[in-house]
Subunit: 401 residues, 2 copies
Amino acid sequence: MIQIAVLGYGTVGSGVVEVIETNKADINKKAAADLAVKYILDLRDFPGDPYEGKVVHDYNIILNDPDVSIICETMGGTKPAYEFTKQALLQGKSVCTSNKELVASHGPELLKIAKENHCNYLFEASVGGGIPIIRPLNYSLTAEHIDSITGILNGTTNYILTKMDKEGVDFDEVLKEAQDKGYAERNPEADVEGYDACRKIAILSSLMSGKNVNYEDIYTEGITRISSADFKYAKQMNKSVKLLALSRDTEEGFFAMVAPFLISREHPLYSVNDVFNAVYVHGNMLGDSMYYGRGAGKLPTASAVVSDVVDCARHQGKTIMCFWDEEKVEITDIKCARRKFFVRVPADRRDAAMGAFGALAEVNVGIAEEFAFMTQEMSEKEFDEKIEKTGGCLNRIRIMA
Amino acid sequence: MIQIAVLGYGTVGSGVVEVIETNKADINKKAAADLAVKYILDLRDFPGDPYEGKVVHDYNIILNDPDVSIICETMGGTKPAYEFTKQALLQGKSVCTSNKELVASHGPELLKIAKENHCNYLFEASVGGGIPIIRPLNYSLTAEHIDSITGILNGTTNYILTKMDKEGVDFDEVLKEAQDKGYAERNPEADVEGYDACRKIAILSSLMSGKNVNYEDIYTEGITRISSADFKYAKQMNKSVKLLALSRDTEEGFFAMVAPFLISREHPLYSVNDVFNAVYVHGNMLGDSMYYGRGAGKLPTASAVVSDVVDCARHQGKTIMCFWDEEKVEITDIKCARRKFFVRVPADRRDAAMGAFGALAEVNVGIAEEFAFMTQEMSEKEFDEKIEKTGGCLNRIRIMA
């Protein structure tokens, strides 16, 4: 019997308990042991809940119980999750988490503590919810040199952008609807400004490089400036707008960023719609591969946490390999990145734009007040200079090659 | 230092050597050991090849060398691959294979021998080439009850169908072109008749059920009857035709089959084109997930074989979990499966069809000699009875729900 404690009885935490209960037979077979939830830590009480007897308010009860060998940290945030996780690992208790903030900010340190204490810190659920992506990167693509990751890593923004694309409505309207449906938070900043996707691509970039990519170094731009007009132009170009989180290991440097991109109908990420997430990975032998599924939600996320619990159960006293050193990756300035841009300027700046950009391809959807075009490939720095010469723009969206 | 032998220096075998050489640093780091190819077994000599000195013709040299602990079986076929694999495992040497025929026909027996001899029989490369799918099923989706797998598992047929869809040409013409380009074999039967996909879905179905699905029990229909006219109708219905390999664990029984299906534009498998493969997996907690990539080719397949080598290197003397018992899965008769069908009959059988099928939805693309329609949902048995009453059909294609 392997005893588990769940920290935080919110959406994911209660999902973990539900998954372990619902799929008990399958899970115990795979874990080669019987798993049982012994404690649930929460500030609240849950009268009437079938697990109310397992709820405790003092973390020390869990920490001091030698029977508990695996802890599921589903609290989110770094306080007190960081301290709780560290204390558990120091005692040799493995921790499985869905907490991308904590993994992004303290991943290598916690992995090191786990290793020193012969236990595990696993975080499959921290990126892409239920999509297996951490494990494929760590254990499947081991013969590859991975040089590029491109992800749709936030379900809320993908839902909003899909709606805008399909229904031609504006950002504010869709956001309100998404909030009413519970797909977006009342305070949607972490999603719509790209902060959530930023934490996730920091984690994936770290695993890709084997070193530490600091999420604070990643250029991050949200979707709040994307309008229904942008989608009109996108359609005309056989493209759509997606919030992409990407990471590139190139000869010119290591690039990582989060921003809305125009993406062509032929690209496999184009068809990733609604709350679905996907991670597109390029390796030097394998070429392109993609991992697709529900990037959030109670049960998909909980399923990923429990898959980590199974892994811990099978590796008691042994640390599973994970290459994520504390050594910092120097992120190359985004100004050096080269790409094409889609630009909208007021109609009276048409000549100025043509003067500044030279060769450009006009895109016309019949909006008389505007002049819209695609640029040639150039660095972000060159683009900024040219757009300043033009007198500024209404909007510009990067184009995924 | 871990010494490896490669059996068969053909496309995949030479790819294995190339991957190990090219990505040496990454691979040795992940394997926590230095890997070296000591022998290459082949009937031929390879004068001038940089590895010609490693080529041997007698398997006993490999078998009797205690330094060799991992063998890559990239010969294909069951003779002599089956005997060679068995002999290696009996000596405690792990075997990593791309040989779907052997895995489909002797998987559980070889896994058992590996377990008894504290070594591993791994086969990530046997399905989906470079796409990580065996490992995700075995180690990632461990908290799931997987009830459905739908795959595009054969690159050659997917290339042919994509061409037919995009260019409106007929099967024979595209097949010839594919053969000229080397995408299809001179004897294309294994691909175009669905036999290759059948072996692969047998392997995935076995892992899904944990028991043994005999590939000979799987209803298999190829793509040779699909015509350019079928694609005209498909387009009209916003669908395409794909050769799908599927497996369903339902209350009515366990279904497995390979056949061409009409699939809607909204389905993620619709956009899987050319030589790409994808596996669509449904779990009771996770919902839908998909794994996409190059399903064949020298380096992608070799990369998967080498990822198994890395796993073996990290688990010397220890058998990695794999649930695939010898106990047979009873496959339910396909006649009991329920679905909708697309049907084309000669124009003069229009009334007969309407009489037999009752409610149906006509599909018209202006081919005067035909009457084409979609049926309601019914069992395959009912369909066969009704089509017999109609007097037969020009073609019928199943529709993916």
